[in-house]
Every structure is written in C-alpha cells, then in structure tokens.
Amino acid sequence: MNSIVLLLILSVYLAVLFFIAHWAEKKENGKWSNNPYIYSLSLAVYCTAWTYYGSIGVAADNGLSYLPIYLGPIIIAPSWILILKKIIRISRVNKISSIADFISLRYGNSRFLGAIVTVICLSGIIPYIALQLKAISETFHVVTKTATSSNILDDTTTYVAVALALFASYYGTRYVDASEKRKGIVTAVAMESILKLVFFVIIGIYVTYFVFDGFNDIYEKASLLKNFKEKNTIGGLPQAINWFLLCVLSMFAIFLLPRQFHVSVIENNRENHINTAVWLFPLYLLIFNIFVYPIAWGGNILFAGKEVNSDAYSLLIPQLFNNKTLTVLVFLGGFSAAISMIVVSSIGLSTMITNNVLIPYNLIGKLKGSDQTISSRKILNSRKIGIFSLIILSYFIYRFFGLDYSLVSIGLVAFVIIAQLGPAFFGALFWRRGSRLGAVYSIIVGFIICIYTLLIPYSIGITNSESTFISNGLFGFHLLKPFQLFGLDYLQPVPHALFWSLLFNVITYFSVSVSFKGNYRERNYAEMFVDISKYITNHENAFIWKGTAYRNDIEKVLVRFLGEERTNRAMNIFNVKYNIDINQELADARLIKFSENLLTGHIGTASARILISSVVKEEKISLPEVLKILEESKENIIINKKLTETSNELKEITAKLQNANLSLMVKDKQKDEFLDTITHELRTPITAIRAASEILHDDDEIPEELKKQFLQNIISESDRLNRLIDKILDLEKFETGKQTINATKSNLIETIENSMEPLKQLIKNKGVTIYLESKSKVNAYYDEDRIFQVMTNLLANSIKFCPEKEGVIIIKVEDIEDYIQTSVHDNGKGINDNDHEAIFEKFYQSVNQNIKKPVGSGLGLAICKQIIEYHKGKIWVQPSVKGACVVFTLPKNKNLEN
C-alpha cells in the first residue's frame, strides 16, 4: 500500500479521535463520558501494541507463555471491589494525582520518596513508550512494504509522535488541578479500546474461518509442525513457577503501572463504576485472547520455513491474501493500542515529574512569589513541556537505540521495574507500621537488583559487547551470574529478576520499617490510609498537627495558587463543614490539612506540605503522643457512631413529628367539630326564643296562661344561653392559661355541702338520696369557688343519670398520703368502659357519636378536668364499679402545688 494513502488514513483516524476527545470534553456531565462502561473500557489501556502484536509473537514462538500477562489481571480483578475502592477513596479525599503522590503522602509527605517513585516510573515507562512508537513504525513499514529510513523527516513515526505529543499536552493539561478528571482523553481511550478489540476480533475471525476452516483445522495443521507439543504444555514444575511469577508480575502491573493508576484511580468518577469494571475488564481480556492462538499458529502454518517477524502475523496474513482493507484495519487497531498507551502514560508521568520532582525541588521557590495566574500558567506549562518532551524523548530512544528486543521483553522489563513499588504501595494500604525509610530502601534495593539481573545484561545484549558478565557472573563468581543469581537456574530472566528483586524488596521494607520507626506524620497518614473508610467524610479530623498558624497567612498562600474566588469558596465550605467562626484568627489542624489538600492537586503532596509549613509554626509531636491522639480519634469515631445513632433517633423523631402532625390534623378537625357543636348549642335556645317571640308578636288571641308560659320559656332559654356562654368562656380561660387559681387551705367538707345547695330542688324532684362519708373536717389546699363548681357539676351529672325515685349518690372523702381524694359514686347506668377517658373531652358525646345530643352543655367535665389539673390533682373514672364513679384528688398542702 502507498505510504501517502496510509498516512492520509492515519490523519483522518487521528482527527476523529481528537474530535471525540474534544466533544467529550465539551459535554458537561455527559452520560457518555461519565459511565461505568467508559471507565471499564478505559482500563483496557492495559492492552498496548505489545498485546496487539507481541502476544501473537510469543504464542507463535514460545507457546503458552503469553497467557500469564492476562491471567494475572483476570485473577486479581475481583479484589478491586475492596482494594481499588480503598485506593480511590484515599486518592479522592487527599486529592492525589499520581502513584508518586500516593506513596509520598503516605510516608509523611516525603519529597524524596515522591522523586524516587517518579524516577522508577520514568526508567520503566520511557523505553516502553519508545517501544510503542517502534511498533507503529514497524507496522507502518509492513503495511506499506517499505524499508526503514534513516532520515527522520521520512519517518512517519516522527509526525505521529509530534501529533500525539501535541494532543496529549493539550488535552492532558486542561486543569491546573491534576486530580481533576480528563473526560476527553478518557473517552478517546475508551473508544480506542473498542476499536482495537473489534479490529483484532475481525482479523481473528478472518484467519480462523476464512483463511482456515475453524479452530480444529488450525489445530490439526499446526500439530504437524515441530515443537508444537513442547510449546503448548506448561512443562513441569520449573515452568509452572515461571508461569506463576509472571501472573504475579501482571497482578502488580495492573495496580502500579502509572497509566493504570491514572485511568483506574485518578479518572474514576464514581466508586461503583468498579462494580462494572470487575467483570467487564476481565471479559475484555478474555475476548482479546480467544484469537491470539489461531492467528499465531495460523501464521506459523502459513509462513513455515520463512524468515518473518511473528509479531507481525496479524498484518502479514491479510497481506498474503492481498486483503488491503483488513490490513489497514489491523494496523489502525494496533495504532490505537499504541497511542492510547503513549498518551495516558505521558500524562501520568508528566504530572509526576512536575508535581513530585520539578515543583518540590526547584519551582516552589519561584512559584511562592508569583500571583495565581502566573503560577497556574507556570505549572501548566511545565506539565505541557513534560508531556511533550517525554514523548519526544521516547521517540529518540526508539530512533537511536535500536530496541532489538521483542515487544514483549521490553514490556516485561518495565513491569518488573514498576513492581518494585509494590511492597511500599500495598504496605501503605494495609500496614500501619510501614515507614518512610522502609519504603525508600525497599524501592532502591529492588531497583538495584533489577538493574543487575535485567537492565545490565539486556544492555550488554543491545550493545553486543563481549562481556563475560552474563556467562560467568560479576568478577567471575558463578553465584553472581545475573540470570542465575545464587544458583537459581530454572527461571527465565524476567521471572528470575522479579523473584529476587521482590524478595529483597519485601525483606528490606519489613526489616527497615520494624527497626526504624517512622515519624509522627507517617504514623498519622498510616492511620488515615489503612482506615480510610472511617475517615472518608471528614478526614481532616484525623490529621494531627500542633503549633501556631494564622488563617490569614494560609489564605494568602492559597490565593496565590487557587485565586481569590476559589480560595473564598473553599474557605466557606470549610467553615460550614466544621462550623467555624469566620472571624477566628488561628488555624487548626483541620484547616492545615484542608489547605494542603487544596494545593495537592496543583503542586503535589510534598510541595503542598512545604508551602503550608512555610507560613505556620509547627511544634514537633512525639510518636507516643500521636498514638494517644489517634486513640482519642478512635473514640471520636465511636462518637461519630453515636452521631449516626442520633441521626437515627432524629429519624424516629421525624416519624413521631409526622404522627404529631397527624394528630394535630385530627385536633384541627376536632376544633371544627367543637365549633360546629357550639354553634348548634347556641342556636337551640335562640330558636326556642325566636319561635316563642314570634307567636307572642303575631298572635293577639293567645290565651293569657299560654302567653305566660311562652314568656317563661323565653326567660329560661335566655338563662341557658347565658350559662353556655359562661362555660365556654370558662373553658377558654383555662385553655389559654388566663384562669388563675386562688388556692387557700379550706375545709373540703364544707365546700361539698355548699355545692349541694343549688341542686336541692333537682334532688328533691328526682328523689335522689345523697350520702356523704367522711370526717366532719378535711382540710385541703384549693380554690373554693372552683371546687364548688366541680362538685356541682359532678353531682348534677350523677343526678341526671340516677334512676327516678331510687337514685343514690355516695360522696366519699379520704386522706391518702399527700392528697385528699374525693369520689362521687351513683347508681345510674354507669359509663361505658371505652369512654372513661373520653368523657373529659369537650363535647365528647357529640363529637364522638356526632349525632347524639350532649346531655347538658357537654363542657362540664372538660372544665372539671381543667380545674383539677390546675390544682395539680387528678380526675378519673373509677373502673369496674356498678354505676358511675368519678374520683378527683386535691393536694393537702401548698408546696405540692408547685
């Protein structure tokens, strides 16, 4: 195929990707960019050109050993629900923007550790990026059937590299805060993940079903080739151990590779996206791997005996059958795999370089003096330059160091180097005692062993020097042979290097951490990392800090980096969150941590610490003191738990309020009914008066006797009306608290006898006998007029319900402890058990039975109850007695009243 045409296709393809990125970036809160599928697919940035081409090469040349690289992530993926969630939480609350930040923060904002992690990542990943460029270049030449040119300007990869560098530096640095999400890039990466998978599956189906006759056909033909059997068995225990170590290696890689950390942690929008990734990502890898084998062995069959690069089988097979479209599709798939890796890796690395090396070691002094716009621009520019130079540097590595090793081996070397971060990283998550020194030394020791067992021998291989280092070991010591260290001779170079480096790495991490305890800051962060779920909502509380700091000074620093507006907004949020007075001058630990967080996204954890420390005066805290405070904060957590309980109680109270509201509504309805009843009660006498008056007015012939009767009716109905109004006013006085009680010490018996006086005629008419059982004098503390009213009322009720001629009422007055108890017991029909409490409600009878006319006003007992309760006494209906028995108590002495 013509180079120009392919170049055109490439340009169009890149333009489409840029467009997707641009579109996703523009869309605010788009469903498209913020969903679990985009997130899961972006994780497939794991599958680089090495996966796309390299695993076919490995499968063709070495058989099954390509598998562990995918098995590791598949096996470990379920653990994301716990581990990745934890990492994401820690990173989110601390505004972490890279794995270097993550490790550096945990070990006490260590600037040095951040820098080491950055160096490790750079040394592993830059050759890896170079490798991707190499893959683009080589496949381009395969597709166009051209030879590599020594002229830079003739090399397509030059332009690709520049285009990618521009793209990544533009979309990767949209925000100064590096912990912000980059929707555009992530969406583009997810699209590329779909494309590379689809194109790979297409070529797989093509080879399996069009070139050959299905899997069985390939198997039958391939099994005739030599070495087929050896390549396709695991081959005993040593091979199994190699396999196992490679699985472990890829498990580390899926967490620690800067690009994986970036897409899975920094770009995570929601924790629950993990739930989708847990199944979708392994599924993605499985689908990818279905066709690796058929393509590899299909290639072996088709190109048996010929000298071709097995890495390029997926391109060479369609080319062999002159299928240009398919060749270009496969090329684009590989291209996608390469560039998504390049873009994401360079963004991650450049953030590390600026935030963990450049700013803390150099720029910070210069940034301190400048204002917000300038410092933001400086930071962004340094990131842009970082991304740009990383890609260009990788390009030169690819150009000038032949990179003769296959795609796979350089990828694996990068994995082993990155795996050196493992102990410090996972220790940060689970082990409180891991210390900064332990982390520093473990990484250095591991890296040195990597250099010795991998990098040096590989460099020797690249330079083709005649060194005996590999065959005889350092200074001729056989035990020091780099590929067979200490006589371990059955492991392949990569698992071998991994084994020794990790072994020493872990030992160093543990032994140094245990021997040299970390300082208080490390211990503090250890707590916050390990127990992140406890601190997730108010982690500032877990930060321990002592000293003097002024809010003013801190705000000035913040303004310099965030600008006036954002600083004010952040401060307001902080004040509200922790209920802090705006005028407070001194800053506390929470504000220190809060401010460090605000800065972290911009300049990294170490620099944030340095900046804030420069304006505050911190006092050293001893480790035991920190442990004590941590213990206390644990108690705080218990208090928090109690708060949760309280909030549950609040919920209950809310429910109760709702009920109360409901009963208020019922009360409201009762009030309406009360009014209804009152109007009815008032209208009845008025009706009688009006009717009688009308007759007297209109009828002149009315006999004198009847006339008198009508006039008598008018008088008695008027009195009734007046009494009713009095009672309503009485009740209203009690209910609104206007009624006063003039209590004095008086003889209750006298009052009771007096109360019978106005009822005399009624008693006589109905033939009721009244007995008063008591001593002749019983003193109590009460308002005579009111109790007179109560007694009249109770007696009138009893008389009303007594049977004609046989009525008996017994009044009993007893002395019970501090109270005088009076009961009025009649031999009437009694009170229904259900009504014992209700009869004391206003218009009870009419309200409850609605239609039934109240006997009397319906207010009498309600008023009695009010009066008795005003005296601090009680009134109730005595249950299970024959007839009705109402009982009330009055205090004997004054003090009880209060």
Partner: protein, 120 residues
C-alpha cells in the same frame, strides 16, 4: 284535617310549633326522639313530619331511613328542621329523601307556609 308529627327533643321549640299548627287546624303528634316517633308511626300515618336531626337515641337521619322503608308512609312529606346548617348537612338530609330542609332558628310563619305548600 291534616295530620302532622313534630319530632324534637327541645320541649320549648316543640311547644311553639304545636301551638301554631293546632291553631292552623292540624292534628298534631309529638315525639321527643326518633324512637318515639317511629313508635307513633306504627299506628298513625301523618301527612307531614317535622324532624330534628340531633336527638338522643335515634337521630333524625336514622329516623328518616326507617320512614322511607315504610310503605304506609309513601305519601308522607318529611321536613328536616335542624340547627345543623352547613351545605353538607343540607345535602345529606335531602339525599336521604327529605322533601325539604329548614334551618334553626326559623320563622314559624315560613314553616307553616312550607308545610302548606308541600301538602298541596
């Protein structure tokens, strides 16, 4: 001579009504509550019944329901006379089959006119 039954638990109101209707040549029956009214209606079939609503024992609504079941009283007119004067009360009374609903306090003249009108 037309027959009228007055059902109310307020003796003074009944007294005025009784006097007036007697004067207008009605044969007047008196009941103090619904039960008494129903007892009277077993043997007497008045042309018109004046019925209070709020009464002890059997109220006006229940009384009317019973009256409506009695074939002998098919042609008897019923007037509610009640202090319950809300729109909903009146609707309920008419829905039960009363011919007329008058509210208390009332003009005796109007009641007499209303009764006369119903009977024509």
């Amino acid at each position: 001579m037309k027959k009228i039954l007055i059902v109310d638990d307020e003796p003074n109101i009944v007294m005025s009504l009784e006097y007036t209707f007697k004067k207008h040549n009605y044969e007047v029956f008196i009941a103090r509550d619904g039960q008494e009214a129903l007892d009277i209606l077993k043997n007497n079939f008045p042309d018109v019944i004046i019925l209070d609503v709020m009464m002890p024992m059997v109220d006006g609504y229940a009384t009317l329901e019973q009256i409506k079941k009695d074939q002998n009283l098919k042609h008897t007119k019923v007037i509610f006379l009640s202090a319950k004067n809300k729109e909903s009360d009146i609707e309920k009374g008419l829905a039960l089959g009363a011919d007329c609903y008058l509210t208390k306090p009332f003009s005796i003249k109007k009641v007499v006119e209303q009764v006369a009108e119903l009977l024509n």
